[in-house]
């Protein structure tokens, strides 16, 4: 049996706490450093011209407008498919599903969808959307691929938001004669909306930053003009950053850092919006 003198116990605690504090610092400091470094290195590249013109001279000059617009298109395309499906699935799990083996299978499927490597989504999108359904390498195929990847994030955060609505709200509504769907649409959904929106933005944020799923489903190396229809391929910010940092020799650093800055501004901007919506809703909540 080990016995410790009080002094030893306190010393151990101090050492332990010191170690954990150091580890936390070692984890958190690089995060801040990475973001600060990209802002400092990338800021000089940012100009109106950089944001609004197309690249030229083998992408070594000019701006990144087609990539910005492409990422917007892909994000919107992903939202069109994943938001209705994801929110409906969350409503099913929270409001309809009983705890059966089928529901448990759905939950395991969602956990698995969340864990599938992004490049495997790319393969799947290539196999199903690009080749089997013959959408070609297109915004449509890439958006569909990203939607399925985004689905688990939207489902699990929306379900959590729906479950947070107190059960008494539903009981009262049903006892006043409302149907189940009326209760969901008029009572539960409005209460859960901020949480659902937060989940949607977090899911889309991930989709906007992903490269591997769009590599073979919709990303274009270089396009002189903007895509004209959902069946065209498109440039995209993450893929563009990959291209200019690995595929093009003598690429000016400034454009690389500028592109990285625009990408993290896009993604972390969405993150910020989601965080603000969440904390505001929490502050306003009366139950």
């Amino acid at each position: 049996m080990k016995t410790f003198l009080p002094l030893n116990r306190n010393l151990t605690q101090r050492l332990g706490f010191g170690l954990l504090t150091a580890m936390t610092l070692a984890t958190v400091t690089p995060i801040i450093a990475v973001i600060a470094y990209i802002i400092i290195q990338g800021a000089p590249a940012i100009s109106l011209e950089f944001l609004t013109s197309a690249p030229y001279n083998g992408m070594r000059n000019g701006g990144i407008m087609p990539a910005i617009v492409g990422t917007l298109y892909l994000t919107i395309g992903t939202a069109i498919f994943s938001v209705p499906l994801g929110v409906a699935a969350a409503i099913y799990l929270s409001e309809y599903a009983a705890d059966t083996w089928l529901t448990r299978t759905i939950r395991i499927a969602i956990i698995n969808l969340a864990g599938i490597p992004s490049v495997v989504y790319g393969l799947f999108g290539l196999g199903l959307f690009v080749l089997f359904l013959q959408f070609g390498t297109s915004i449509l195929a890439a958006s569909l691929t990203l939607s399925i990847m985004t689905l688990p994030v939207i489902i699990s955060t929306s379900e959590e938001a729906l479950r947070a609505v107190p059960q008494s709200f539903r009981t009262v509504s049903i006892s006043l004669g409302a149907t189940r769907w009326q209760t969901i649409r008029r009572i539960v959904l409005p209460e859960a909306l901020p949480g659902i929106i937060t989940g949607i933005i977090l899911g889309l944020e991930r989709a906007a930053g992903e490269t591997a799923p769009i590599l073979f489903t919709g990303a274009a190396f270089f396009l002189p003009r903007l895509p004209g229809s959902p069946f065209d391929a498109t440039m995209a910010l993450p893929y563009h950053l990959f291209v200019i940092s690995t595929q093009i020799p003598e690429m000016p650093f400034q454009i690389q850092y500028g592109t990285a800055l625009v990408l993290i501004a896009f993604v972390l901007g969405m993150n910020l919006v989601a965080t603000v919506i969440r904390s505001r809703a929490r502050a306003k909540r009366q139950w």
Binding site: I31, V119, V120, L215
Partner: protein, 298 residues
């Protein structure tokens, strides 16, 4: 009343139910397409070739062992970074940090989870690998080590959030009981809280490792992409190539339906099965945990 269901209600209910089942459909579809495009490899490539140590598709060498070993080396290195630092941070946030600090640290770690992996790969090329090359006096900084360090960073948010949840769900009375018996905060963490949360902590480690093995862009950009079988410990200082990076780098250039194409899908299938195994085990642990806590509470 149920008999007064309108048509609208009927249709909406059906649509919602169908959406609920969609996750199962998608997992099945993904598996089906990976099998459909990947299994022909087993007929086209002799077994001895497929499980050999040489990956050189142009000359029809399709040995996937170097790719698997590359993934293992990088993932193992990433786990060495992500597990201690992730768990340390989770314990700090959940057990030690005052409330205001927790409110700062949690979003910061989430921020790391939101950073696109291509951005980390980009910094890996420009900043980390030149630094490692000089520091360790290597011929190139684009090594498994660079990949492991960055991948560790990518896995940290997963480990932290899952482990923090697990620690958070340990009832407060456990800690109070330990304190009342005269244990210090440190002893309580080490001997009461952590053991009580162990299955959640294990899940955190597994999901973190699963996240690392599936990561693509960062490893493709910083590990140097040399398909060499890793045989010794020092392999971590040389270039390697992972399964994910191979698919991402080569899929764009192969002819649809070729042997090479099928083999890349076969590798995708292996990755899918690995993630399936990790996630099913992790969720089994979670479900069992829930059942036990329900028993305790009832």
């Amino acid at each position: 009343m149920e008999s007064q269901l309108t048509w609208q209600e009927f249709i909406v209910t059906r649509v919602i139910k169908a959406s609920g089942y969609s996750a199962i459909v998608f997992v099945a579809l993904i598996f089906y397409f990976l099998l459909r495009e990947g299994l022909p490899t087993l007929a086209e490539v002799p077994f001895g070739n497929l499980f050999s140590t040489r990956w050189y598709p142009i000359e029809e060498y399709y040995g996937i062992l170097p790719l698997i070993s590359g993934s293992l080396v990088v993932t193992f290195g990433a786990a060495l970074v992500a597990v201690p630092f992730g768990l340390g941070t989770a314990i700090f946030i959940s057990e030690i940090a005052p409330r205001w600090l927790r409110e700062i640290l949690k979003p910061l770690v989430e921020l790391l989870g939101g950073l696109p992996s291509v951005v980390l790969g980009f910094l890996g090329i420009l900043v980390l690998s030149p630094y490692l090359r000089v520091l360790l006096d290597l011929p190139t900084g684009l090594t498994a080590l660079a990949g492991s360090l960055l991948l560790g960073g990518i896995a940290v948010p997963t480990v932290v959030s899952v482990a923090e949840d697990a620690l958070d769900s340990v009832p407060r009375s456990y800690r109070e009981g330990a304190w009342a018996l005269g244990a210090t905060k440190w002893q309580t963490i080490w001997r009461v809280t952590l053991p009580a949360a162990r299955s959640g902590v294990l899940t955190a480690v597994m999901l973190g490792v699963g996240r690392a093995i599936g990561e693509t862009m960062t490893v493709m950009m910083v590990t140097g992409n040399a398909p060499v079988l890793a045989t010794k410990l020092s392999s971590i200082f040389s270039p390697v190539r992972t399964m994910t990076a191979t698919i991402a780098a080569e899929m764009g250039e192969v002819a649809n339906g070729s042997v090479h194409y099928h083999t890349l899908f076969f590798i995708g299938m292996v990755l899918f099965l690995i993630s399936l195994a990790v996630n099913i085990t992790a969720s089994a642990v979670v479900f069992r945990q829930q059942k036990r806590s329900e028993r305790v509470l009832s």
